[in-house]
């Protein structure tokens, strides 16, 4: 779509699904080789598995596939503090001996210093920021970075397996003003001497006008089972970013995300938290998701949407306790896609490798809106998906602790606030 600043059309769900979207997909082949350590549930290898599956399904042929740039440390300092970035840059497993420093930046078993940690941060952050730039330039309708979505990282500390908050940096990139006035000057200055007067006049004109590309409002939706605290905290006091998080609440990491937390100051009512209980299934989830998102889109009218697709809300996740199927999870993507607003899909949680790859692959299908066979094709990692080799994940018979009444209460409160 052209003119990212003006694309604020409201949803027309009937015809919007069928409209083709231009999709750009960001992938660094080295990402699968990063390793948090023995026993750590977060395994970047799942991104490689997803990539392989996408390729064999033929989906990469329908997208622009981009090898992203590594984020520079000054890119990270757009949100994170200098000392924290310097720490990440210099941290190595064998040299981390000062417990005070570790404590200060929350380096724990959850967030260990592993081999090539900073490169890993640069990789996934660079991809998210490049994806934001792609949206800014209106080169794509949907951009995807499955290595991103690490939503717990704070300004100067790591948290919940996250070190650098690529989501905040990507949203800041979407919101920032881009001054491009000097760009034409070098070519003009190279002109011959007798035209130098015209050049200097034009140069001064350029300096007077500053060319700005800007998205006014960005909506952030988080369907990871954990509350998106890092992103909510970063944008707590602004009305340019609305954060909506659906998560398990109650004796669960990170402990924040109460229904009454809705921002502060200028950002009051610009944070929405939907607390859920164990075992929620597709039907109950969408009973809340669709009306809330519909109301948010109507009220907030964003220029772009960033969706964190944490796959730990799937059934059978190693750390999660929801009961969503791949179809139910992907339905969130399909629903947001139908609003025809520039969309960024990011990864996040997801600790049962084969289910993560299935889920994210299926969500790419929905981005492209193509039909896919349930049986997955032969590919390098087929062995992970036995014995059925099916793309879908069967839900379990776990008890859904979210009663219809509690869901109604939640829905009423949220819609009221909106």
């Amino acid at each position: 779509m052209e003119g990212a600043g003006g694309g604020n059309s409201l949803p027309s769900t009937s015809g919007a699904d069928a409209v083709k979207r231009r999709v750009s997909y960001f992938y660094d082949p080295d990402v699968g080789n990063y390793y948090y350590g023995l026993g750590h549930p977060m395994k970047p290898h799942r991104i490689r598995m997803t990539h392989s599956l996408l390729e064999k399904y033929g989906l990469l042929d329908r997208m622009k596939v981009i090898h992203p740039q590594l984020a520079r440390d000054r890119d990270l300092c757009a949100f994170h503090t200098d000392d924290y970035v310097a720490f990440l840059q210099s941290a190595k497993p064998e040299t981390l001996t000062n417990p005070c420093v570790a404590r200060r930046f929350n380096i724990t078993d959850d967030c260990p210093v592993f081999y090539r940690l900073f490169e890993f941060c640069q990789t996934y952050t660079g991809a998210s920021v490049d994806a934001a730039k792609e949206l800014n330039r209106c080169n794509a309708d949907i951009v995807i970075n499955w290595s991103g979505g690490l939503h717990h990282a704070k300004r100067s500390e790591a948290s919940g397996f996250c070190y650098v908050n690529d989501i905040v940096l990507a949203i800041l990139k979407l919101l920032e003003n881009h001054d491009v006035s000097p760009l034409l000057v070098p070519s003009l200055l190279s002109s011959s001497f007798h035209r130098s007067f015209c050049v200097s006049v034009f140069h001064s004109l350029l300096l007077i006008c500053s060319f700005l590309i800007c998205l006014q409002r960005v909506l952030y939706v988080d369907i990871d089972i954990h509350h998106g605290d890092g992103v909510e905290e970063a944008f707590l006091t602004t009305d340019r970013v609305m954060t909506v998080s659906f998560h398990k609440f109650g004796e669960y990491f990170p402990g924040t995300g109460h229904i009454l937390d809705n921002g502060y100051g200028k950002g009051k009512y610009y944070a929405v938290n939907v607390p859920l209980n164990d075992g929620i299934d597709d039907e109950s989830y969408h009973y809340l998701f669709k009306p809330i998102i519909a109301k948010v889109m109507e009220v907030f009218n964003p220029d772009a949407v960033v969706l964190q697709c944490g796959a730990d809300s799937l059934s059978g996740d190693r750390l999660g306790c929801f009961n969503l199927s791949v179809k139910g999870h992907a339905e969130c993507v399909r629903y947001l896609r139908s609003f025809n607003v520039p969309l960024m899909l990011l990864g996040g949680g997801g600790y049962t490798l084969r289910n993560v790859a299935r889920c994210w692959c299926y969500e790419v299908y929905w981005s492209l809106h193509v039909e896919v066979n349930d049986k997955m094709p032969d590919h390098e990692y087929l062995g992970y998906y036995g014995p059925d080799y099916n793309i879908h994940v069967a839900t379990s018979n776990m008890e859904n602790k979210n009663s219809r009444k509690s869901l109604d209460d939640i829905k009423a409160k949220i819609l009221d606030n909106l």
């Binding site: 699968g32 990063y34 350590g37 023995l38 026993g39 490689r48 390729e55 064999k56 399904y57 033929g58 989906l59 990469l60 329908r62 622009k64 596939v65 981009i66 992203p68 949100f79 503090t81 200098d82 000392d83 924290y84 310097a86 005070c100 404590r103 660079g126 490049d130 730039k133 209106c138 300004r155 100067s156 919101l175 003003n177 881009h178 491009v180 034409l184 060319f211 700005l212 800007c214 605290d229 970063a234 970013v241 924040t256 109460h258 009454l260 937390d261 502060y264 600790y351 049962t352 084969r354 299908y365 896919v372 997955m376 094709p377 590919h379 990692y381 087929l382 992970y384 036995g386 014995p387």
Partner: protein, 451 residues
């Protein structure tokens, strides 16, 4: 539910300064009542710093009414004139404060030193103001003057407590060389001007870097950083610097931005579609899965799967061309084992088994020593692409209801031991079924060794 304690400039309030119910009771009795009535009016005129207001309790309606009855000149307690700029009758206040101070000292104070300190601060402030209005007034007793001096000095020390002092007090090493003067100056506007990169607090030597200011602020709350924070942080240490919205761009602005060479440089490299690749995507079949049947002797067996995967891989290499290598497909899947000798593969499996069974959790510390010629990346690559893949493939056949790609947790549990017994029984059955395919049997053996 998040609870935030802060004052207007976003700095977290010291909990000691937040008025409690006991304090409010104390206020009702004594001199403090005058202040509750007068300070809100006087404060608008007087140029007190915000910090002083921290010391002043919040006026309550009850306390406002009570002191009036105690005052001898209660009919019009505040005489504010434009000339005086809203200053009250200091003499009256001072005399009254004397009475109140004398009265209060005789009162029993069951709640202890904290309550007394609060009232003393209020009284001290009144006396200071009186002195400022009329320095020649020496109506105070010597003891009182001495008390006032002590209190005033303590208050000044606390109010202008610098972050440098905080740094020295804390266990973290102080920030390097630059001594930066801190003021409680709002830096938000200046930060935006500077592009959010540098703090704008006045400094002697150089502009203060945001990190050091935040680090020094963090020093004061070092104890909270240790525990799991369960509330959303508020303040400049936590929120991002979001730029303000300006007017929407024009068409020329958009096209100029798209051609900006600087931005182009940092957009990443497009790998697909490859340059010069003009094949029509509609010719390709999208979304096709594997067939439910094949012509192999034992469909679904390890050998069957492996042959189909190899075939698909060759086709992929042909389709993608250079992108096959750019995307790292040459380093994916069981093909990675081709880069390892048979002995190395068996050593890897044996080492993994040894480290797991012994309960010694340092496979990754030991592995580089055993495989000196292999880099850490090679080891991790082999682990995910070969070892874990074979193990999961094996599990999906032997124990399909208990597939676990995170084997590190389960090696020593009772369930794991039970699983091993099931695996052995099923392995025997599997071997009977596959005895005709000798290569298949060998593969199965190697898998069970790995499990």
């Amino acid at each position: 539910m998040t609870s935030l304690s802060f004052c207007d400039d976003g700095v977290t309030l010291d909990p000691l300064l937040i008025p409690t119910e006991e304090d409010k009771e104390e206020k009702k009795e004594g001199l403090g009542g005058i202040f509750f009535r007068r300070i809100p009016v006087a404060s608008t005129a007087l140029s007190t710093t915000p910090e002083f207001h921290q010391f002043l309790p919040i006026p309550s309606p009850e306390s406002e009414s009570l002191p009036r009855s105690h005052l001898p000149d209660a009919s019009d307690p505040i005489s504010l004139t434009a000339d005086e700029g809203g200053l009250y009758d200091a003499d009256v206040a001072v005399r009254q404060s004397d009475e109140r101070m004398a009265g209060r000292e005789g009162d029993a104070s069951p709640s202890g030193s904290r309550k007394t300190t609060r009232s003393e601060l209020v009284g001290m402030l009144a006396l200071l103001r009186g002195m400022a209005m009329d320095p020649r007034n020496r109506s105070m007793a010597a003891a009182e003057e001495e008390w006032l001096e002590t209190q005033a000095l303590r208050a000044r020390e606390t109010l202008f407590h610098t972050l440098d002092d905080a740094t020295r007090m804390r266990e973290l090493p102080p920030p390097p060389e630059r001594k930066l003067r801190t003021g409680r100056i709002s830096t938000e506007g200046s930060q935006k001007k500077n592009g959010g990169k540098l703090g704008s607090v006045e400094v002697r030597t150089q502009p203060k870097r945001r990190s050091e200011r935040i680090a020094q602020n963090a020093n004061q709350s070092i104890h909270h950083l240790r525990t799991r924070r369960q509330r959303i942080g508020f303040g400049s240490n936590f929120q991002a610097d979001v730029p303000d919205w300006t007017s929407p761009p024009s068409e020329t602005d958009v096209s100029n931005y798209k051609e900006d060479l600087n931005t182009l440089k940092w957009l990443g490299t497009q790998i697909w579609p490859a340059e010069g690749d003009d094949r029509k995507t509609c010719d390709l079949v999208i979304g096709k899965g594997r067939l439910n049947y094949c012509a192999c002797s034992f469909p679904g067996s390890v050998v069957c799967i492996r042959s189909h995967v190899s075939e698909a891989r060759l086709k992929l290499k042909d389709d993608l061309g250079q992108a096959f290598f750019a995307w790292g497909f040459d380093g994916m899947g069981e093909e990675v084992s081709q880069l390892w000798t048979k002995e190395e593969q068996m050593s890897f499996d044996a080492l993994k088994r040894l480290k797991n069974e012994s309960g010694y959790n340092c496979f990754w510390e030991a592995a580089p020593k055993y495989f000196i010629s292999r880099s850490r990346q090679d080891l991790i690559n082999y682990y995910f692409n070969v070892y874990l893949l074979r193990r999961t493939s094996n599990q999906s056949r032997l124990t399909p209801e208990h597939i676990n790609t995170d084997e590190e947790d389960n090696e020593h549990s009772e369930d794991a031991k039970k699983m091993k017994r099931i695996v052995i029984k099923k392995k025997a059955k599997l071997m009977r079924n596959h005895d005709q395919d000798s290569s298949g049997v060998n593969r199965v053996k190697s898998f069970t060794l790995a499990a």
